[in-house]
């Protein structure tokens, strides 16, 4: 896991989350912009997954539980597609709010992953 990249992910996910919440409460149904924001969050997660798999080979080992790290990462990877899928089935503004909730949840999960990787004492 690359620390600065994780912070970029948190920033993008928070921005995407706030954007979707605002547009959702402004009664927009999910559109290319909001779905695209979640797709970007997902893309960054996939990149982070590649980094995480490759990092130990370059001497960048997780300090905490690797199992917990990957459970968080996989949960995070599942979240944006689930929210986008939800929005395809349910064409209301609340689906845009759900996209926002999903993006914010990813931000929290990435932050947690960063903690596990860098500052875990256990």
């Amino acid at each position: 896991m690359i620390e600065w990249f994780a912070w970029v992910q948190v920033a993008v996910a928070v921005a995407a989350g706030l954007l979707c919440l605002v547009l959702g409460f402004a009664r927009r149904v999910p559109n290319d912009l909001t779905n695209g924001a979640l797709a970007l969050v997902e893309l960054l997660l996939v990149v982070q997954l590649v980094f995480a798999i490759a990092a130990p080979a370059f001497g960048n080992e997780a300090t905490g539980s690797v199992l917990e790290f990957y459970v968080s990462l996989i949960s995070a990877l599942l979240t944006p597609p689930a929210a986008i899928f939800w929005g395809l089935l349910d064409r209301t503004r609340w689906s845009t709010v759900v996209l926002g909730v999903a993006a914010l949840a990813v931000a929290v999960m990435v932050y947690r992953m960063l903690q596990i990787w860098t500052v875990q004492q256990a």
Partner: protein
């Protein structure tokens, strides 16, 4: 606004998953996923360190999953199950939250509910309140006018 409403023909009588209730369900879903994942990790890697805390974590995770399902499903039976699970969560977060502060040695390892759900941004404390409010305002028999 009108086009949004007409895009949703299947608003069924007694369906709690209308309007902002869907957001509640989504938040419950995320919390259920997070609690399940964490509890899975705890039980697989270090169950013997704190069996009580980790058993509670697993129980809490299962209850969150059931609550999520109960909020989505319609009908009186599911409505009661939703109440039961949400009340259980609320009692859990209050009792375990208080115990974890007063007798920290009982819970040397975190559960979802330790410190009133601090590890989860206090969402476990706030969510049951929102859930109870939602259920109280969306009883199965008058859900049609409330939606």
């Amino acid at each position: 606004m009108t086009d949004v409403r007409s895009a949703r023909p299947e608003t069924r009588r007694g369906w709690r998953m209308s309007g902002i209730g869907r957001v509640l369900v989504a938040v419950y879903g995320v919390l259920a996923l997070a609690a399940l994942g964490r509890s899975f990790v705890q039980i697989v890697s270090k169950f013997d360190e704190a069996p009580l805390a980790y058993t509670l974590s697993a129980l809490a995770a299962v209850v969150y999953v059931v609550a999520t399902i109960a909020l989505v499903r319609s009908g009186r039976g599911w409505y009661r199950i939703a109440w039961a699970t949400i009340l259980f969560e609320f009692a859990g977060v209050l009792v375990i939250g208080t115990l974890s502060i007063v007798y920290p040695q009982l819970f040397p390892h975190d559960t979802v509910w330790s410190w009133f759900g601090r590890g989860y941004l206090f969402i476990p404390l706030v969510l049951p309140l929102l859930g109870m409010w939602w259920l109280a305002t969306h009883r199965p028999d008058r859900a049609a006018d409330a939606a």
